[in-house]
Every structure is written in structure tokens, then in C-alpha cells.
Symmetry: C2
Subunit: 306 residues, 2 copies
């Protein structure tokens, strides 16, 4: 099997090309919002969600090209969520992926619209591609749209952001102070980041044509990976420097946010993340998916430096 680093680079290159090809452009779309959408989508990033989506399709023996539209849609949704989260009314962040945030360069109005446009385009893309007259494949696409929408909406990611917004912000006296404890923190992140990561994996399995047994196993494994991802994010926020993170480091601590690092310490948090990986590996092995790229993706999530 190809070296994991090469595998990751190859997948990323495919994904970058597909993302750009899927973006709306003039004359179908006004230049102001088209260039704003492109600015944020092409700002780089790990592309974890699309990589996980394609890897899940391949893990169950499916054709990853069938999963590529959903993979791109998930990255559009992730990108829109970052644009809106960075707004002054939300996290008020000015740096993201090593560049000024969209509202800094394009204004708040266009940033809001570019986010709205990316969210909507995600669904347009999943409905449109892969183009098919095959009713069975059409039914898979419809199912994936339902999974992704449920994960991205008020019952999922948007709900998680709402919980985060109402949590403690000593710098914002207009909001009620509510310091999240361990279980609340887990619930908030399960919505805010976990739901979309799970949807990425599940979308890949469904587009790959696997049966429901695999959907459930990969969903459960992806939930562990999502939690590990968030724990490591918190650790890197404490350990990291802004340059390698591409965003402002130490921001969560400065904002008085509850984090895994603050609650359990750096070492404790890293042990929790490793335990998540072990559980994910166990679930995958039990489902007969032990030798796939999914375990390597898990280790990459935990060992990354940004």
C-alpha cells in the first residue's frame, strides 16, 4: 500500500481540484460573492472531512468518485461554518488558515452571503452530482443529503455553535456566563465538530453502496475520531504558535472557554485522544475494516501539529 503521506497528498490534490471546479463563478454568479467563496475555500486547510468521506467509500469497496460531490459539499459546509464563526458577532477572529478572515478582506455583508452561498451550494452539488438516471444511485444521494443536513443544522453543528455562543465569555458582558463542564463540553463538541465529521464518513459509506451494518460501524468509529480531533485541537491551541496553526493561538484560554486541555491538562487530554483512537480501531476491526486507511487517518488526527 502507498505510503500514507503520499496517499494524503494525492487525495488532497484531487479534492482541491474538485472543490474549485464545483464553485459557482461569473457570469452565473456575481463576482463579489464568487470571489469571496473562492477566497475561503482555497485558503487551504487539512481537508479532513472530504478525505474521511472518500476513505470511507473506499473502505467498504466503493468507487470514491461517486463520493467526491458529497466530499466537496462537506468541505463547503465546514468552510461556511468557519466564515460565520469568525464574524465579529460570533468569535470575532481576524486570522484563519494563515490569512485574514473573509469579513476582514471583503466586509461583513459579503462574508455572511459567501457563507450562505457555500452552505446552499453544498446541497446544490449533492443534488446535481454524480449526474445519474439510476434511481438507486439517486436514492443514495437523497439519503446523503438528509444525513448531511441533519448533521449541519440546528440539531447538529449550528446547535453546537449556539451552545458555544452561550458559554462563558468573560470578554462579552452581554452574554450569560456558563462555564461548560466535562460532559457539557463533550455534548457541545459532539454537535459543533463531531456531527459533520460523522456525516462525512457516513456519506462516503452510503455513496460507496455499503449496507447499513457498515453505516453504523463507521458512524461509531467516526464519532471517536471526531472527539479525538477536538481534544487535539484544544491541546494545539495551548501548545501551538499562531504561525503553524494559521489562526490565533491561545485564543480559547484567553476567552475563558472550557477546553479539554484546561479541564484535563495537556497529558490527560492527549491520553483521552489516544483512547478514542483505540476505541475507533476496535470498532473498525470488528466490522472487518481493520486494515483500511481509516485507522491511519485517526493516527494522523492525533499526531498532527496544526
Amino acid at each position: 500500500m502507498e505510503d500514507f503521506h503520499d496517499y494524503l497528498e494525492a487525495r488532497r490534490a484531487e479534492i482541491e481540484a474538485a472543490l474549485v471546479a464545483a464553485l459557482p463563478a461569473p457570469p452565473e454568479c456575481p463576482a463579489s460573492v464568487a470571489s469571496a467563496m473562492r477566497y475561503s475555500v482555497t485558503a487551504g486547510g487539512k481537508r479532513l472531512r472530504p478525505i474521511l468521506c472518500l476513505a470511507s467509500a473506499e473502505a467498504v469497496g466503493g468507487d470514491r468518485t461517486l463520493a467526491m460531490p458529497a466530499a466537496c459539499a462537506l468541505e463547503f459546509i465546514h468552510t461556511y461554518s468557519l466564515i460565520h464563526d469568525d464574524l465579529p458577532a460570533m468569535d470575532n477572529d481576524t486570522m484563519r488558515r494563515g490569512r485574514p478572515t473573509l469579513h476582514v478582506v471583503a466586509g461583513e455583508g459579503i462574508a455572511i452571503l459567501a457563507g450562505d452561498g457555500l452552505l446552499t451550494e453544498a446541497f446544490a452539488l449533492m443534488a446535481r452530482e454524480p449526474a445519474t438516471a439510476d434511481l438507486v444511485l439517486a436514492a443514495r444521494k437523497l439519503r446523503v443529503i438528509g444525513v448531511v443536513a441533519a448533521a449541519a443544522g440546528a440539531t447538529g453543528m449550528v446547535g453546537g455553535q449556539a451552545l458555544d455562543l452561550s458559554a462563558s465569555r468573560p470578554d462579552r458582558t452581554d452574554r450569560p456566563a456558563l462555564l461548560l463542564a466535562g460532559e457539557d463540553l463533550r455534548m457541545m463538541h459532539a454537535r459543533k465538530t463531531g456531527a459533520l465529521i460523522r456525516a462525512a464518513a457516513v456519506a462516503g459509506v452510503i455513496m460507496g453502496g455499503a449496507d447499513d451494518r457498515f453505516v453504523q460501524s463507521i458512524d461509531a468509529a467516526a464519532a471517536e475520531l471526531g472527539l479525538a480531533f477536538q481534544i487535539i485541537d484544544d491541546v494545539l491551541d495551548v501548545e501551538g504558535v499562531s504561525a503553524s496553526l494559521g489562526k490565533t493561538a491561545g485564543k480559547d484560554a484567553a476567552a475563558g472557554k472550557a477546553t479539554y486541555a484546561a479541564l484535563y491538562g495537556i497529558d490527560g487530554a492527549r491520553r483521552m485522544a489516544t483512547a478514542c483512537l483505540d476505541r475507533a480501531d476496535g470498532i473498525l476491526r470488528e466490522a472487518g475494516l481493520g486494515g483500511t486507511r481509516l485507522s491511519e487517518i485517526g493516527r494522523w488526527i492525533v499526531n498532527r501539529s496544526h
Copy 2:
């Protein structure tokens, strides 16, 4: 046939009930964002898009209950667009449908999230309902999702709002002045309001199971109704008083926005709207849909006082 006023009231009651039933609620969804979504969705409004969606399904002999999820989804999308348009970074409006706008009562952060939540829920709802194992009906649902997403996104409504945002705003010196002329104004509104109104009618026809000939005819008629709607909106903004409009009257003129009323005068604009209706009626008659509720909906659009 039932009196049109009674028909409208009956449909509105069905739609109001379906909208509330389709909203996510605790414990699946945090209370803050759930109550914000409900506040805006239940603020009233004409319910033009869902009424047009159901009427289109019935006009082609379809079962309107199959079109109800799409009808509600379109109203969710319309409502989200109003929430985001009203934000300080956009139109900065404080009154809507006779009540303070959402960001005034819940804060900008929750208003942004409630809009995001409604947009996402629209797609979740169309994917989920009507629940079916029938692959033909599933394919209709998928097609409707594609139509609605294309109409709502950067190539449609979001793009129209971006054009509007970059048009003349003498009160905002941070934006380039660009006064829209007649054709530009039509193009901007074709995206900003026309696209979603057309999608409402087309979604009804598709869920009603009609063939593509009807899709094209009703799409063309709905484009005329959408233009008439916007022209009358401009007229009412000049003629109206805030109390009956439920929003700030005279705002477009005060903001130096190009409007049909400003470009063609009140009487000229009203004549244009009537000409739209005549064209719509001609298209509908030619398609054998002359005696349906769609023509009455057109007259209601033009004769309304708010």
C-alpha cells in the same frame, strides 16, 4: 369553487401548522436557536411561496400534501433570507412583519445561526419528507432539492442580495456607489426574489408529478408573478405606512436605492405589474391551466395592500 379569500385562509392555516411542526425543538436542538427560528418563522407574513407551491401542485392535478414539505422549506429559506438581510452588516433593519427583527431581540450571533439553521433545515425537511420507499417519488424529491438549492444560492437569491449590497447606498460610504438602471434592477430582482418564487411553483409541479411541459410553463408564469410581486413591493414602499407594511416604509427611497417606483413612477410601475399578470395568464391558458388558482394568486399579488 371556494371563494379565493376563504381558499387563501384555509391554505394559510394548513401551512402555519406544517411550519411549526417542521421546526426543530429541544431537546434535539438547543433552546436558544430553536426559539429564535420559531420567532421568525411564526411572525406571520403572506406565505406567498408555500401557497404558490401548493397551488402549482394542485393546478397540475397533483396531491398537495406531497408538496407541503417543499412549501415549508421554501418559507424557511425565505425567512432565513429576511433574518440575514436585516442584519446590521446588510440592510440594518429593526422592524419586520410588525415586530422587532431577530437580531434586535436575540443578538446578532443567534440571528446569524437561526438563519443558518433555517436554511439547513429546509434541505433536511425536503430530504426527509414525504417519507417514502418509492424510488420515483424519491427522485422527485431529489430534483426539487436541486431546483431549490440553485434558486436560493449564489447563482440565485444570495447572488441577488450580493448585487443589492453593492448597489448605491449613500448612507454607507464604505461601499462603491452603483445606481442600478432598469435592466440591472430587473436582473437583481430576478435573482433576489424571482428565483425563489419560480422555484416554489416549479417544486409544486414536480412534486405534483407533472411532466416537463408543465414545469416550463409554470416556471415562465411564475417568473412574471415574481416580477409583478417586486414591482408592487416597490410601490407599497412608497405608498405604504409602516404599520400596515409591518416594516419600515419609505426605506428604499431613503437609502437611495433604485426602485421600479422611482424609475417609472407609481402609475407606470402599476401598469408594468398588470402587464406581467396578463403575460402570466396567457402562458397559463396556453398550457391548459387557465382556470386554476394561479391566476387568482397573481391578482392577489398585484392588488395587495401590504
